[in-house]
Amino acid sequence: MNQLIADCREMLTEQVQYRDLLYEMTRRDLLIRYKQTIMGFGWAVFMPLVNTAVFSVIFTRVAPISTDVPYPLFAFCGLLAWNFTASTLRSSVTSLTSNAGLVTKVFFPREIFPFSAMLVALVDLVVGSSVLIALMAWFGVAPSRYIVYLPLIVVVHVVFTAAVSLFVAMANLFYRDVKYIFEVVITLWMFATSVLYPVRTMAGRLGTVLRLNPMTAIIDGYRDTLFGARPPDWASLGPAALLAVVLLLAAWVQFHRSEFEFAERI
């Protein structure tokens, strides 16, 4: 237990000490991504918009489903939130292995790699939110007083994503299979989450299983707080938040303890 506290203290001290590096790494990734592009940050909203258009055609014309708010708004909100997690994880998986030169040569807390990947995705999320606000105005959907819970949802989302990103970055360093498995898992996971259809209204055993997915709780939480119909569903959000915190602690401590092996095993 004392060891755990000492580790946690060291982890946090390192992050404070290297906070400028986290900033610079995030800046680097943002700069590189949009250098020599014409659309720049437009790309951050382009993919969710295209997906929204495609799925809107499918789920309003081909196989209509009922949602609380107009389907394009429902889907865009889901995709925006999902993309934050998916793109964080996608960059994190290879973040250590593609920076092998730094990992084997220079000392600094390696958490910086997945964390900066997450900050980059967070910038995309913020940029995408402006489109979400525009869509809400277009469809005449206004938030209610439940919006006060929005920051809480964001925190749970960030904590959960950080935990998983540390885990996948570390796992891929030791076993390169992870990056292949990841592509399959992330696709399946998206369809098991209420990104494009409401899991909440699903009946039967499958519905029960799918509601255990913390990402469903988080994305439904966004919709509940933003679109104003009802307060967040604490019964599913509470366990998700607890899981997120425990996972982050476990993944980060494990990451920190195996950090010294990274240079040898990469």
Partner: protein, 413 residues
């Protein structure tokens, strides 16, 4: 606040040959192995010690040179110090803010401009953003690339890249300094600037650990040297002694075409076998006895003296001095006595002997590092040859008051 220090206390580090289990397929047997065999023995079949019982301590104002052949563990030692690697046994101590001059351009991203990369690389080396901003102009000035600072680094020449990397590192404010063979970059002037900077750091009382293959640089900067040897314990001592050990152990692989029966170097005035440093200009005698294993025909004896940094000081051959060629049949013995004058300045020198086929102009047999000698002196500024200058100076006092522009000695103006 403890004093800044770089130290190893009995550090051992184990590495593994071949591959780790890198995919999930190999994980299962590895896990089973771990649970069944509990504690592993000290060293597996495919493991080896890269560092064996290494201990040293570098205090403020001191500089330790780390030398050794490739693969002897020099970089590993620095990585253990910087906490990238964890020692298998023993502890590494490093007190003070670390400046690690290792892979100076490791963090550069080719698509970013010089300016953007300065902030990135600086942060990777642990600099505060404000510090970088404050010293930004100095860094550009030191690197000498003010015109290209807003150009992407991918368009830089490799020299510019390296200079920018060193310039950033040179403006860290370290309390301890670790350097890994990073000065072999840039042109002559830039290298001089780098060494001057390192000496400034040392004189400011910053402990330095310096890995290099440049023995002259080691001799200039460091007061002690550690020689790492693969699979053996290191040798630590003062610079000339350890360098002499290094250069003579380095190439002493004898040629299979002959056997060295005896090789002794003596000081000709005293007649004693050489032990310890000699002054410039000392007369030395190399006695060497060789047995041929194959026919070595029409041979001249070639003497070569090389400084520890690879500078060729002298090559001469008996036949060019008018001596007859030598024919050796298998089991014949050649006894050679070569007298020469060590008219060189301070440094460590290695003596090579070759038998050269005078007809075909190739080396019939080579004995590198047959012996070595160390020269010390403190009267010369720098250089390699002792030219024994004599100065005859006289000052003619002018009775006229001095007018500076006209006081230039006569001649063409």
């Amino acid at each position: 606040m403890s004093e800044s220090v770089i130290a190893f206390d009995g550090v051992w580090k184990k590495f593994r040959r071949g591959e780790h289990h890198d995919s999930l397929r190999d994980l299962v047997p590895a896990l089973v192995g771990r649970f069944t065999s509990r504690r592993k023995p000290a060293l597996d079949d495919n493991e080896f010690w890269v560092l064996r019982n290494v201990s040293f301590e570098v205090r403020p104002g001191q500089a330790l040179g780390i030398i050794g052949p490739n693969g002897a563990g020099k970089s590993t030692a620095l990585k253990v110090l910087t906490r990238i690697l964890k020692p298998t046994r023993g502890t590494a101590r490093l007190h003070g803010r670390v400046g690690a001059l290792i892979e100076l351009a490791a963090g550069f991203h080719p698509d970013l401009t010089g300016r953007e990369n300065i902030f990135l690389q600086g942060a990777i080396m642990g600099m505060r953003r404000d510090d970088i901003r404050r010293r930004f102009d100095e860094i550009i000035e030191f690197a000498g690339i003010p015109d290209f600072i807003d150009t992407p680094v991918k368009r830089y020449s490799s020299g510019m890249n390296a200079r920018l990397g060193f310039a950033i590192a040179a403006h860290l404010d370290p309390e301890v300094l670790l350097i890994d063979e990073v000065l072999a970059v840039g042109d002559y002037n830039f290298q001089q600037k780098c060494y001057a900077r390192l000496e400034e750091f040392r004189n400011a009382g910053i402990p330095i650990a310096f890995v290099s293959h440049n023995m002259q640089a080691i001799a200039t900067l460091c007061d002690r040297v550690m020689l790492l040897r693969a699979g053996q314990e290191p040798i630590i001592g003062d610079v000339p002694t350890v360098l002499a050990e290094y250069v003579s152990s380095k190439g002493s692989l004898a040629d299979p075409r002959l056997r060295v029966l005896n090789a002794v170097i003596t000081e000709s005035t005293s007649g004693n076998e050489l032990s310890g440093p000699i002054p410039p200009g000392a007369s030395l005698v190399l006695d060497i006895e060789i047995a041929a294993e194959v026919p070595l025909l029409r041979c001249g004896v070639l003497l070569q003296v090389v400084r520890s940094d690879g500078l060729m000081i002298f090559t001469g051959m008996s036949t060019l001095d008018g001596l007859p060629e030598i024919d050796l049949q298998p089991a014949d013995r050649l006894r050679a006595r070569i007298q020469f004058s060590a008219s060189v300045l301070r440094g460590t020198y290695m003596v090579n002997v070759q038998l050269v086929d005078t007809l075909r102009q190739w080396s019939a047999a080579v004995i590198n590092g047959v012996c070595s000698f160390v020269v010390t002196e403190t009267t010369r500024v720098s250089g390699c040859a002792e030219l024994q200058p004599s100065y005859d100076l006289s000052v003619a006092r002018s009775s006229m008051p001095l007018v500076s522009s006209q006081s230039v000695p006569s001649g063409r103006l």
